[in-house]
């Protein structure tokens, strides 16, 4: 009984962790993409450089989401 409660709590925690952890990267990546669009509209000749920088910035801001993914995987499979 007790172990079932712990398992249920871990699964619930994994869901909450992933849900809240996805908010930040979503906002951040969308903001980055919007700013990159503005930059490309202003100077289309720099499109390659801007896209590269945007991808790197997005991957960096995605890392908090990846951390929450790792935590929720631990909660699902290791608890």
């Amino acid at each position: 009984m007790e172990s079932e409660i712990i398992r249920a709590a871990a699964l619930l925690g994994a869901g909450i962790c992933m849900g809240f952890g996805a908010i930040g990267p979503g906002i951040g990546e969308g903001f980055t993409a919007g700013k990159a669009c503005e930059g490309i509209a202003r100077s289309p000749e720099n499109a390659g450089l801007l896209t590269r920088t945007m991808l790197v910035g997005q991957a960096v801001s995605e890392s908090t989401g990846i951390y929450s993914l790792v935590i929720s995987l631990l909660l699902i499979f290791a608890v």
């Binding site: 991808l55 790197v56 991957a59 960096v60 995605e62 890392s63 990846i66 951390y67 993914l69 790792v70 995987l73 499979f77």
Partner: protein
């Protein structure tokens, strides 16, 4: 020249086949072969649930015990050695015939190298362009490690899926960054930077430096493992029909390339900040 490139292709093919045979011997769950007179490529009617399969993915490691508690993870090391062998072979093929007018292989190698060379010069300056080989190697290695899972051989897992590989790469990057910082500034100035605004900030700065390496390696690990698990779950839901190809294209090629590039770019910018 044409004959030789054909020969090289044959050698690479032979290596892949040998690797496949090796992996058949070592992999616990063989997924293609003859079953009741039919040729089965993948056992769809598996009795195991998704949970069991994912657990299996986590623990599918063949450990070789050397002495006491010291073990070697052979199923990861095997793929890493395969990637290394491929890189060495490529380098040997390119270097054997260097011409002023480049051949096909040489053009490819020169293109990638000059891209990274210009990136390094852009970031750390003309004088410090001796970082290029390290940056180039780390990119090619991580990139090949990320996309090696596309080759459909049982047991051909991406080495970066295991945390030990990205952690090793992250520690190596930290060592390079700090060594070049000490070499550039001298030990006194380097140690002084840790107590920068006030001496009270010392522990925070140290933790910040360590967090760089950890965030680098966990980013790579989480991306690759998350992609692998998503591929496994969705493939199970769609009964391995057609969808996994697109998923492999996205998670294997696109995410793998972007993450390898991000890793190298971050190592480069950490170095640039450290030696500025």
């Amino acid at each position: 020249m044409k004959k030789k490139s054909k020969k090289a292709l044959l050698i690479i093919l032979a290596i892949i086949i040998i690797e496949g045979i090796l992996s058949i011997g070592l992999n616990h769950e063989l997924q293609f072969g003859f079953d009741e007179g039919k040729f089965v490529i993948r056992n769809i009617e598996s009795e195991k649930s998704i949970q069991d399969q994912i657990n299996h993915e986590f623990q599918q490691y063949h450990m070789i015990k050397l002495f006491r508690k010291f073990t070697i993870n052979w199923s990861v090391l095997r793929v890493i050695l395969f990637v290394d062998l491929f890189l060495i072979l490529f380098a040997a093929l390119v270097r054997r015939k260097m011409h002023l007018i480049p051949g096909k292989l040489q053009i490819v190698a020169e293109m990638i190298y000059s891209f990274f060379s210009s990136l390094v010069i852009e970031t750390v300056g003309e004088k410090k362009k001796y970082f290029t080989p390290y940056i180039f190697t780390i990119f090619v290695f991580i990139w090949l490690c990320n996309i090696v899972g596309l080759i459909p051989i049982p047991g051909n897992l991406e080495p970066t899926r295991n945390l030990n590989v990205p952690l090793g790469l992250g520690i190596m990057a930290l060592i390079v960054v700090h060594y070049s910082a000490i070499k550039e500034k001298g030990i006194k100035l380097y140690l002084k930077e840790y107590a920068e605004p006030i001496a009270f900030m010392l522990p925070i700065n140290i933790v910040g430096e360590l967090a760089k390496g950890i965030s680098l390696s966990f980013r790579l690990f989480g991306n690759i493992l998350g992609g692998a698990i998503i591929i496994l779950v969705v493939s199970n839901l769609t009964r391995f029909i057609l969808i996994p190809v697109g998923l492999n294209l996205f998670f294997g090629l696109f995410i793998g390339t972007v993450q390898a590039f991000v890793f190298t770019m971050l190592v480069l910018s950490y170095t640039a900040v450290a030696i500025k």
